[in-house]
């Protein structure tokens, strides 16, 4: 059942945003429920723009945004939204001379957690959640890329936000940390609305009950991962040789060529499609238009 934009906790209605001659978002309608929604799309699709608007960082040119019934166009409501928000931007710089705990304490204050004891408890909690409790006194400049990414996730979790916006949260994480990240998201208290954008289709498949595919500023798919995979049903093949008629083909780890397209090459076997296959077909179709 498609959630209703006007009744969902977070709703986007006819959202548009332009940067110069580039239409980053084009009349996007989206309703986000409690739970995890994955946002898939190629570079330049408008994912970061969409998330930054949700995070009340940018203002849309047209359309309406509603977050927990609050309208970010009103200053007071915008502040209220931000009190319930956790945001991890895509290219987050850091104050390299801060310690890990010092940085989180600073962000906690910016999130208006003014009670010192509560702030310390909250910092300790998020550090434990992301597995950085042993690095509390380490300077950020001494952290590896993966640790900094976990620190970014930690700051987003401060204050137990009702809306968690994560732009490329698994970038730089090793496979074990990605698994831990999935576990983390699954166990967040309070059943927040979580939107995460990623290029990793298997992350989407593993943890997102809902997927939104954004291409060229427009929503091209809303549904479950299984439904996205099903869009490629009957159009994914495996063969020993490469065929010329496929939309996309590549050699897999089993040394066989995987083809996505309408015309199977000779000797090809039909295989079960994955989320990635469905996404790639959508991208191809959008490019062809």
């Amino acid at each position: 059942m498609t959630p209703n934009v006007s009744t969902a906790p977070v709703g986007l209605d006819g959202l548009s945003r332009r940067y110069g001659s580039t239409q980053a978002l084009d009349a996007v309608d989206l309703a986000l429920e409690h739970g995890i929604t994955g946002l898939l799309g190629p570079n330049g699709a408008g994912k970061t723009t969409l998330l930054s608007i949700l995070a009340t960082v940018n203002e849309p040119d047209a359309g309406r945004v509603s977050v927990f019934g609050l309208d970010p166009r009103r200053a007071a409501e915008r502040v209220q939204i931000r009190r319930r928000l956790g945001y991890l931007p895509q290219d987050l710089g850091y104050h390299r001379h801060f310690t890990v705990a010092g940085f989180l304490d600073y962000v906690a204050i910016l999130k208006e957690i003014t009670d010192r004891r509560r702030r310390a408890e909250e910092v300790a909690r998020v550090l434990a959640v992301v597995g950085l409790e042993g690095r509390a006194r380490t300077r950020i400049r001494a952290l590896s890329g993966g640790m900094r990414q976990r620190l970014g996730i930690a700051q987003a979790l401060l204050g137990e936000p009702g809306l968690l916006i994560l732009d490329e949260p698994t970038a730089g994480l090793d496979p074990e940390q990605r698994l831990r990240f999935r576990e983390l998201l699954s166990g967040l208290p309070g059943d927040p609305v979580i939107v995460l954008s990623t290029h990793q289709a298997d992350d989407i498949a593993a943890i997102c009950p809902r997927v939104v595919v954004l291409l060229q500023g427009q929503v091209h798919f809303i549904g479950t991962p299984a439904e996205l995979a099903a869009t490629a049903a009957g159009r994914v093949w495996a063969a020993d040789e490469r065929g010329g008629s496929a939309h996309l083909s590549w050699r897999g780890g089993d040394n066989r060529w995987r083809h996505i397209g309408d015309q199977p090459p000779a000797g090809a076997d039909l295989v079960a499609p994955t989320v990635e296959d469905g996404y790639l077909l959508l991208c191809h179709a959008a490019d062809a238009r």
Binding site: S52, A55, T56, V57, A75, V79, Q80, R82, R83, L85, Y87, P89, D91, L92, G93, Y94, H95, R96, D105, Y106, V107, I109, L110, K111, E112, T114, R116, Q155
Partner: protein, 546 residues
């Protein structure tokens, strides 16, 4: 905007500011500057408290740069987008940065406290002005507020460095401004008129108004910083109103600083200088009179010792008793007299021309007010200078000499005797005396007398200006003979001098005769390379007669 959020952020920002490398370095540099400004000189509070502000200026520059870095941190570290998603707005953060400037106050207080201790332990004259000292602290805060205002708009670190340099340059080029205008700039660094005042002059510098100006500048910078970051019509309107008030305060303070000094104050100052006897306290000890302005009694022991050292070795003394008197000769330039009619200024200058420090008197030694050193090698030089002046009085060498070419005691035994008495009284380091033959201290190595180049000797402290008036130019021959005399038994020399004292004081009596009387060879004067015969066109120095 939650007050608790602002205060919590301000605490963090204050801590980040106070432990910033720049602020710590600024504090250290400020301490060094204050040390070099106050340590070598006489601890006059009316000069020292202003010079402490010079050190606060250095700290202020560091706080400005550090505050700019802190305020621009989100944009510089690519965190602006994240910060925009927080409930604490940019205005909240800016306010926290401004309140966090309080973190720099302990650093300023530490500088101030340490300097005050040093001054008091050195035997301070006068008392500190709270307005001046507070002005120094306000300078630090105003600089920090300017740094925040720059940083919220320009995140590039160069902006903070340029701001700090602009503050420094504006304070270091105040000599280009005239009259009361010099006080409008953040801090007048090279103020030296204060050194020569015999006491604190009311309204000079206009510390209260200057502190108000600095407070106004701090407020204006804070308002600008908030205006850049706060959105909303009502807030902006309130800030605009506050800005108008701040500008009005600055303008009013500027006007007050530009006011002429009260005529009564300047009259009193001119009288104090032109007729010091009316203001000074005199003490007679061992037939020498010491006349000092009120509060300068601390100088008495260090004056008495060298003079007594000379008097103790005199076979006879002149009829006129010696007077050691402080003389103040500030240049009554535009910083003092602006706003007063030219006629009045001319009257004051006429009065000042009668000031004793500038006139030749046979029985007085004039000390420049505020030049007496606190301690160390400079104090030793100053004591030698006083001893030499007393010795010149004792042997009737003309001192001080009014403006014009100083005379040269060429081949006069009394010259060597005066130097010998001064050396005996103060026992300076031999190396320092010897260095006077090589032009040390900025003096010349030779002078022309009667178309002949004569090798000269510069006594320690010759260019330090501890005494007013020009001294007779001493010759290398006189010094070398005196130096040879110090190697003889003191009683032998005293006996020879006492045997024909009036002869030795006669300017016709030459060095060779004294050397022969003492039974020593006349020391030869080393020649100077390139110095052969008369120079021709150089101004001639007269020989000291009388």
């Amino acid at each position: 905007m939650s007050a608790r959020t602002v205060l919590a952020l301000a605490r963090v920002e204050a801590w980040l500011l106070v432990r910033s490398v720049l602020v710590l370095a600024g504090m250290l540099a400020g301490a060094v500057v204050i040390w070099f400004l106050i340590r070598p000189t006489e601890p006059l509070w009316w000069r020292a408290d202003w010079r402490i502000g010079g050190g606060q200026l250095v700290l202020g520059m560091a706080v400005l740069a550090a505050a700019q870095l802190n305020a621009g941190r989100p944009r510089r570290d690519a965190m602006a987008e994240l910060y925009a998603s927080f409930p604490a707005t940019a205005g909240t953060r800016t306010l926290a940065h401004l309140i966090g400037l309080a973190g720099a106050v302990p650093a300023g207080l530490l500088l101030l406290g340490a300097a005050a201790v040093v001054i008091q332990l050195s035997g301070a004259v006068g008392s500190a002005s709270i307005a001046v000292l507070a002005g120094g602290l306000l300078l630090v805060i105003a600089a920090g507020a300017a740094g925040v205002a720059i940083g919220v708009r320009f995140a590039h670190p160069l902006a903070g460095v340029l701001g700090a340099l602009a503050l420094f340059i504006s304070s270091a080029t105040t000599h280009l401004a005239s009259g009361g205008g010099i006080w409008l700039l953040p801090w007048e660094v090279f103020q030296d008129d204060l050194s020569q005042l015999p006491g604190r002059l009311t309204g000079y510098p206009p510390a209260g108004a200057h502190a108000a100006e600095l407070a106004g500048l701090a407020a204006l910078a804070a308002i600008v910083a908030l205006a850049v970051t706060i959105a909303g019509g009502r807030s902006r309107a309130r800030l605009a109103l506050a800005g108008v008030v701040a500008v009005a305060v600055i303008c009013l303070a500027g006007v007050l600083q530009g006011r002429p000094l009260p005529t009564a104050e300047l009259n009193h100052l001119v009288t104090e200088i032109a007729d010091p006897a009316s203001a000074q306290d005199c003490v007679t000890a061992s037939q020498a009179r010491y006349c000092l302005y009120p509060g300068f009694g601390r100088d008495l022991p260090s004056l008495r010792d060298p003079v007594n050292g000379v008097l103790a070795h005199l076979p006879a003394r002149p009829a006129q008793p010696l007077t050691i008197r402080q003389a103040a000769l500030p240049s009554l330039d535009g910083t003092f007299t602006h706003g007063h009619p030219d006629q009045q200024i001319a009257r004051w200058n006429t009065q000042l021309q009668a000031a004793p420090g500038d006139a030749t008197t046979a029985s007085a030694v004039y000390l420049s007010v505020g030049s007496w050193p606190a301690a160390g090698g400079q104090l030793a030089d100053a004591r030698f200078d006083v001893a030499l002046a007393a010795a010149d009085w004792a042997v009737r060498l003309p001192f001080p000499v009014a403006s014009g070419q100083p005379c040269v005691a060429l081949d006069q035994a009394r010259e060597a005797i005066a130097i010998w008495l001064a050396i005996l009284a103060t026992r300076p380091a031999g190396s320092e005396l010897q260095a006077g033959l090589n032009g040390s201290g900025g003096g010349f190595t030779a002078t022309e007398v009667s178309n002949t180049m004569v090798r000269t000797w510069n006594y320690p402290g010759i260019s330090a200006g501890y005494l007013t008036g020009a001294t007779p130019q001493l010759t290398a021959a006189g010094y070398l003979l005196a130096s040879a005399m110090t190697r003889l038994p003191e009683q032998k020399v005293s006996r020879v001098l006492a045997g024909a004292w009036s002869t030795w004081l006669n300017w016709h009596t030459g060095d060779a005769r004294l050397a022969a009387a003492l039974g020593i060879a006349m020391p030869s004067v080393p020649g100077l390379p390139g110095l052969a015969g008369p120079a021709g066109n150089a101004p001639q120095n007269p020989v000291c007669t009388s």
